[in-house]
């Protein structure tokens, strides 16, 4: 009965959504002269950043990214707070079965490569598709692999916390430096260099590297916390 009602409601809702989004008018009315072209234009001419998405994420809409980083930080803190236990209550790692020797040997082999790949992705965030979030996530998967493969692999919570804090502080500090040097928060106050050089785009790569560190630390922390949770 309940399912029937829900299906009926969803059918009505889906009908409205379809009417809204599948209508050709939805596209026709689009104002293509919005902010898009400006961004594409200025990314090359002023920011000297090859990846427009990165330019938008870090510079044009850098404030959003700051908020986003805060959300991640909050999520990590919230996880710690919600699953909070006194220190001596922390349980063993919950893994279903011990890893086979192939996995443990292989993961040791592959771990540095993953870290390297992650670092590469976030260092080249302003040139190639990728960036701090993506690179950070890749690094975190490396740690996840190690945590699954080795029962005794452990990461110091304090170290993670320090990395996370410093990365966050670095982000805000660069923002404030922009505020002091250029008059607005997160302003790109460093020389922008030449397009497609590794060192170009001013503060954009710097901030993205910080974001990469932060995301990596936070995701690793999240994984670590959940893995140590007894059901």
């Amino acid at each position: 009965m309940k399912k029937a009602i829900v299906i009926f409601l969803l059918a009505v809702f889906g009908f409205f959504l379809a009417v809204t989004f599948l209508d050709p008018d939805f596209e026709a009315e689009r104002n293509h002269n919005g902010v898009k072209n400006f961004y594409l234009d200025k990314t090359v001419s002023q920011l000297k950043t090859a990846n427009t998405v990165t330019a938008i994420v870090v510079n044009f809409r850098g404030f959003d990214t700051l908020g986003e980083v805060t959300v991640l930080f909050l999520a990590a803190t919230a996880l710690g707070s919600i699953l909070f236990k006194k220190r001596h209550h922390i349980g063993d790692r919950t893994v279903l079965m011990p890893a086979s020797s192939i996995v443990s040997a292989g993961s040791k082999l592959i771990f540095p490569a993953i870290i390297l790949l992650g670092a590469y992705v976030f260092i080249h965030g302003h040139l190639t598709p990728g960036g701090g979030f993506q690179g950070g996530t890749i690094i975190a998967t490396g740690f996840l692999l190690m945590l699954i493969a080795y029962r005794d692999f452990s990461i110091s919570h304090n170290v993670l916390s320090v990395i996370e804090s410093f990365a966050g502080i670095g982000f805000v500090t660069f923002g404030l430096l922009g505020f002091m040097n250029g008059g607005t928060f997160l302003q790109n106050f460093m020389g922008t260099g030449v397009l497609n050089d590794l060192i170009s785009g001013g503060v954009i790569p710097v901030i993205y590297i910080l974001v990469g560190f932060k995301v990596a630390a936070e995701l690793t922390g999240l994984i670590y916390t959940i893995l140590h949770e007894k059901g």
Binding site: K2, K3, V6, I7, L9, L10, F13, G14, L17, A18, F21, L22, P24, E27, R30, H32, V35, K36, N37, Y39, L40, D41, T43, V44, A50, N51, T52, V53, I56, V57, F60, R61, D64, T65, G67, E68, V71, L72, L74, A75, A76, A78, L79, I82, L83, T128, P129, F133, L195, N196, V215, L222, T225, I226, E229, G231
Partner: protein
């Protein structure tokens, strides 16, 4: 019906379908985990929708590789892509918090059935 329209209907249709599937899970499944999965599916649908509105015909990625600095007209809209990055990360954060809450709830009530967890009402 040309390809653009097909792609459009395909992308939008898929995203609407994902939203509806997610909502169905949220509204009918009794397990908390499935509800969270439902929420994630809704998020996925919306992210797809968001990416979809940036598409233009024969578009390329909004990245300037050497030699293609004047390909601006063919580039897809980069803004939705930047937005979706933010939205994904936020969705991830919310999901993490939700899962931790589920762990707490399971510890407290020893069940994951949402209709058995209603000590607070009226």
């Amino acid at each position: 019906m040309d390809t653009t329209e097909l792609i459009r209907i395909g992308v939008y249709g898929t995203s609407i379908l994902l939203i509806l599937i997610g909502l169905y899970a949220v509204l009918t499944k009794r397990s908390l985990i499935k509800i969270i999965i439902g929420l994630s599916i809704i998020d996925g649908g919306i992210h797809l929708l968001l990416i979809g509105i940036g598409y233009i015909k024969d578009g390329t990625a909004p990245i300037f590789s050497p030699g293609s600095e004047n390909a601006v007209a063919r580039m897809v809209d980069p803004v939705p892509q930047a937005l979706v990055l933010t939205a994904i990360v936020i969705g991830f954060g919310v999901t993490a918090v939700a899962l931790s809450l589920v762990i707490r709830l399971y510890r407290h009530h020893n069940t994951l059935k949402i209709d058995e967890i209603k000590n607070l009402k009226w």
